[in-house]
Subunit: 329 residues, 4 copies
C-alpha cells in the first residue's frame, strides 16, 4: 500500500486520490506557452478530479540556449521567460477549494545535452540585481550544457556527477484577478523552485478562480538549496501529474505532503517573511487539523521543525517549513 | 512663465507640454472600476498627447466605509479594493516610450465628511500582516471620518487641523503581460502613496503596452511619510491631469519633476532595496541626461540627495530619491 | 527667548537646561581616541549637568586621507576607524536616566581642504558589502578633498557649492556591558549619521552605565539623506555641547528635539525595522507625554508624521520619525 | 580510523588534531559567567593547542526558570542572559589565525526535568519584537520543563518524544575591540544556534584577539531549524571540546567540518544577507582550497549546495551553507 492512500488528498479529495482518466498535453497541444499565472488565458484542457495528465514541459529558456557559446542576454527576451503549460481547468473547482496535484513521474525529453545552467547578468543570489540595485559591474555570462539521464544522472564534469532528482520548479493555480509573472512565486504557487515538489509528493494549492486553472513548467533535473545563481539544471520533460479537488478545504498558501512529512510554503521578501509565513501556516495547520494547541505547536516546532530554503533569487524568496508525520500523526 | 515650460515634458513631449483637447471621466463614464493594472481591460477613453482629462476618482474603499461604526473587515471584499479609473489609451504610445502626466488639480467631491482613515486587521506599518506573519492578536478596528475642504483643510479634532495637501496615491501604466493588483506599487507605478505626486508635479511613467494604458485613483487629502497605519485621508475627488508622450525616452521606474527637483521612485522589499532602486536610477539619470560622471554623481548625491519615504505598508515599499534643480540644472 | 527654555531638557533637566561650567577637550587632552562605545574606557572628563564642553573632534579617518591620490584601502586600518572623543562622565547619571545633549556650535578646524569624501571598497549604499555579500568586482576607489568654511560652504566644483550644514555623525552613551564599534548605530546612539543632530538641537540618549559615558565624533559638513556612498563630507571640528541629566526619564532609543519638532530614532536592518522602531517610539511618546490615545496617535501620524532616512550604509540603518510641535504641543 | 584524522584540523593544526592535556572548568572554576564576547575579561584557563577541556555549561537562563509556573519576564534580567563559560586563552593564537574546536561530547547534568523552553514577551520568530516593533499585544508567557536524557531523549508529552541531539548554541572567539552580547551571533561565532555544532563536528573560528579567547555555553538538547519561538530545549551540560590552532589560516566567518560536509556560516539581517555571506564564503573556500574556478563553484553550488537555517530569532539570523565532501574532496 502506498502512503498516498492515507494522504489528505485521498481522505478529502473528490476522487479520493484515485487515478482517473488519462490525458496528455504535447508541445503541439499546448501551442503557445504562458508567461503569467492569471485568469485571462483559455484553458488548454478540461478535466475531472482524478485525471492523470502527462505534460511536455519546456525548459525555462524555451530551448533558446542551445550551446555554451550562446549569451543569455542575447537569446532571452524579457518578460517572455519561464514558459508554462496550461492552464488546465479542473471541473468543479471554485474559490475557497484546494487543488491537490500528485506528481507521478518526471522524465527528461529531447536531445542531449538536455540540461542547461548559466549566469545571467543582474540575476542571482550573489550579485546585484534590478531591485538589489548596485553600481558594480555585472559578472561575465557563462553557459553550461550537461547531459541528463535518469540513470546516469547529471554529468557536471569528468569528476563530478550529480544524481537525477527532478522536480517541478514552477506550478500553481490562477489568482482571482491578477496575472502574475511566471518568474514569481506567491500565495498561488508559481516559481517556488522548491526541490520537494518532486516525484511522489502531493502539492496542495489554493483555488482562487473557477476551474483552479493549473499551470506548470520549469522542471529542474536537480537543484541546491536556494538555487544560488538563479538557474538550476533546466531541462525539458514529460511530467505526469494526477489532480484531485478538495472542496471547501481553504488554504491561503501552498502546502505539500510526502510519505514522511507535511510542509507549508511561504514566498516573500525579505527572506524572514517567507519563513514567518511558512511557519505560521504550519502552526495553524497543526492547530486546525491535528489537535494541537496553537502555542504548544509553536513551542514544539521550535524543537523539531525543518526548513528548506527553496530559492533566494526570484522576485520573492521561497521557504518550506515542515514537520515529520511521526510528530503530528 | 510656469516652470512647466522648461520641464522635460515640454522639451521632449510630442505635445510639447501644451494642453490640448479636454475630456472628463465621470463615475458613469467609468462604469466598473479596475483592481489590477494590466493590458486585459478595455480602454475607457482614447486620447492624443496633450489631452487634459478630469477624472472622478473614488476613495480607496469605493465609498463602502460610511460611518465610524462600520467595521472595515465586514465592508471590504479583497481583492476588490483600491478602485482605479481608466485605462486611458494614449495614441502613439509604444513599449519603450515614456508617458508624462502633469497634475493640474485635485479637488474633493461628494458629501462631508469626505475623508476616511481606519485601522484594518493585519494591515499597517506597526502590526503583523499576511506576510510579516505573526501570532499576536490583531489590533481593534477603528474608523475616523473627517471633513475635508481645500480651504478648511482636514478637521482631525477640535484642536488639530491639517492642511489640504492632496495627491494621487495610485497611478501608473499597464505592464506588458502582467496584471498587478492596484494595492501594489512597482516598476509601472501603481500604489506608490507618494505625497510628491501632487498638484503641479509631472510624473513620468514607463510605457510597456501599446497606448500606455494609464490608470489612476486613490487620492489622499494628506498623508505622512510612510503612510504609517496603511490608510491616509482617503477621499473621492475630481482629479485633472494633462498627458504627454515622450517617444523613445525609455525609463525603467517612475520619475517625477517639480519646479524644484527631479525624483526617481523605487518600490521593493526590504525597504533598502526601494532606496537602492531610487538612488541608482537617480545616479544614472544624472549621468545620462545631465553630464555627470556616474561615480561623481554617486559621491555628490551622498552630500545632497533627498529621500521621501512614501509607504511602508503596501506589498512593496516605495521611496523617492531626489536632487535639487540647483544642482543638476 | 530661545525655544530651548521650553524644551524637555529645560523642563526635566537637573540643570534646568541652563549652561554651567565650561570645559574643553583638545586633541592633547583626549590622547588616544576610542573605536568602541563601551564601559571599559577611562573617562577623559567628569562634569556636572549643565557643563558646556568644547571638543576637538577628528574626522572619521583620523586625518589619514590627506590627498586625492591616497587609496582608502591602504590608509585605513579596520577596526580602528571613526575615532571618538570621550567618554565624558556625567555626575549623577545612572541606568534608567536620560542624558540630554544640546549642540551649541560646530566649526571646522585644521588646514584646508578640510573636507573629505571617498569611495571605499565594499562599503556604500549601492555596492555589495561584507554582509550584502556579492561576487561582483568592487568599484574603483576615489577620494575627493573639498574646502569647507562656514561662510563659503563646501566647494564641490567650480559650478557647485553646497551650504555648510554641520552635524554630529556619531554620538551616544555607553551600553551597560557591550562595547559596540563606533561604526554602528543602535539603541545607545552611535553612528547614526542623522543630519538633524545639528546646531540648536537637543539629542536625548538613554543612560545604561553609571556616568552615562558620553562619546562623540565624526562630524559632517553636510550630508544627503541616507549617506549614499557611506562617506559624507568628513571634517575635523570644534564641537561645543551642553549636557543635562533627566533623572528617571527612561527612554529606550535616542530622541531629538528642535524648535519645531520631536523626533524618535531607530537603527536596525532591514530598513523597515528602523522605521518601525522610530515610529513605535513616537506613538508611545505621544501617548505617555502628550495625552494621546495610542491608536489615535498611530492614526494621526499616518497623516502627518515625517521620516528622515539618516544612513543606508552602516551596520544598522538609521531612521528618524518626527512630528511637528504644532501637533503635539 | 576517524574522519577526524583527515580533517582540516588534523592537516593544518599545530597539534595535528591530536588530543593533548585534559582540563575541566567546573561551575566553581568558572565563578562568574560572561554575557559578552570581548577582550576585556580575564581568562579562566590557558591551554596549548590540543587541549581537551570538559566544561560545565549552564542553561541559557542560568537556571533561573525552575518551574512551569515561573514567568520569564520576572525571572530574567536583561542583559544578563545566556551565560558563557570562558574565556579560554589558547597559547600562540594571534589575529589572523584560526581556532579549531572539535566537539567530543555533550551530556546533560543537574536534576530533572533538565530541559526548559518557554515563550518570552517580544521575543521569537512569529511575534513583534524590540526591533520588528509592533503595537500588537504580546503573547502570553508559557514555560515547559522537560526531562532530558541521552538514552530516553526529550519527553515532550505522553505521545511525543524527541531524540537527544545536543549541540552548542553559543560558541566563539573574542572580537578585537568589541564586546558583543552573548545573545548575538556574528563574524566571531556567538549565539548562532546552529544544530550542526554538535558532537563529532569541528567548528573553525577566526582569531581576532591574542589567545583567541574562546567562550561557549547555551547547549541545546535539540532544536528545530530557525529556533522558531527563540528558546530551544535549554539545558545545563558537561561539554567536552578539543582545541587546535591553525596558524595563518585566516577566515572571516565561522566554518564547520563533519565527516560528510564542509559548511560556512553567516549571520546578518535581513535573512538573505546571512545566506549571501554563507554562500559567498563557501564559493571562495572552494576556490581557494579545493581548486575550483570561482564562477564554476557558484554554478555548481546552485545545483548541490545545502542550507541550514540556524536561527530566525536572534539579533542577527544565522544560516549555514554546505557542500558534500563527495563534491569537493
Amino acid at each position: 500500500m502506498s502512503w498516498l492512500e492515507t494522504s489528505i488528498m485521498a481522505r478529502k479529495g473528490v476522487a479520493k486520490g484515485v487515478a482517473g482518466k488519462t490525458y496528455q498535453i504535447t508541445e503541439a497541444d499546448q501551442g503557445a506557452y504562458h508567461y503569467v499565472y492569471g485568469p485571462y488565458a483559455k484553458p488548454v484542457l478540461r478535466v475531472d478530479p482524478g485525471a492523470v495528465i502527462a505534460v511536455e514541459t519546456h525548459d525555462a529558456f524555451e530551448g533558446k540556449i542551445k550551446s555554451e557559446s550562446d549569451r543569455p542576454s542575447e537569446k532571452l527576451n524579457f518578460p517572455y521567460l519561464n514558459p508554462q503549460n496550461g492552464p488546465i481547468y479542473v471541473n468543479g473547482a471554485e474559490k475557497g477549494d484546494c487543488l491537490a496535484v500528485y506528481i507521478k513521474s518526471i522524465v527528461p525529453r529531447g536531445p542531449q545535452p538536455a540540461g542547461t545552467t548559466c549566469l545571467i547578468p543582474e540575476f542571482g543570489g550573489l550579485v546585484g540585481t534590478g531591485v538589489t540595485a548596485m553600481l558594480n559591474a555585472a559578472l561575465p555570462e557563462r553557459v553550461r550544457k550537461v547531459e541528463v539521464t535518469p540513470e546516469g544522472g547529471i554529468r557536471w564534469s569528468d569528476r563530478i556527477t550529480l544524481p537525477y532528482q527532478p522536480f517541478i520548479g514552477t506550478i500553481g493555480t490562477s489568482p482571482e484577478i491578477e496575472a502574475i509573472t511566471s518568474l514569481q512565486p506567491d500565495y498561488h504557487g508559481g516559481n517556488m523552485d522548491l526541490p520537494d515538489v518532486g516525484v511522489d509528493a502531493v502539492i496542495y494549492l489554493p483555488v482562487n478562480a473557477a476551474g483552479a486553472l493549473l499551470y506548470l513548467g520549469d522542471c529542474h533535473a536537480t537543484q541546491g538549496d536556494g538555487e544560488l545563481c538563479g538557474v538550476a539544471i533546466e531541462h525539458p520533460t514529460v511530467t505526469t501529474v494526477q489532480v484531485d479537488l478538495l472542496k471547501g478545504w481553504t488554504i491561503h498558501w501552498p502546502r505539500l505532503e510526502t510519505a514522511n512529512f507535511f510542509m507549508t510554503i511561504g514566498s516573500a521578501r525579505p527572506m524572514e517573511d517567507a519563513a514567518r509565513i511558512a511557519y505560521r501556516e504550519l502552526v495553524r495547520w497543526m492547530a486546525s487539523d491535528f489537535g494541537f494547541d496553537e502555542l504548544d505547536a509553536y513551542l514544539l516546532l521550535t524543537q523539531c521543525g525543518r526548513v528548506r530554503l527553496a530559492n533566494m533569487v526570484d522576485p520573492k524568496y521561497t521557504i518550506g517549513a515542515s514537520v515529520s508525520k511521526t510528530i503530528v500523526a
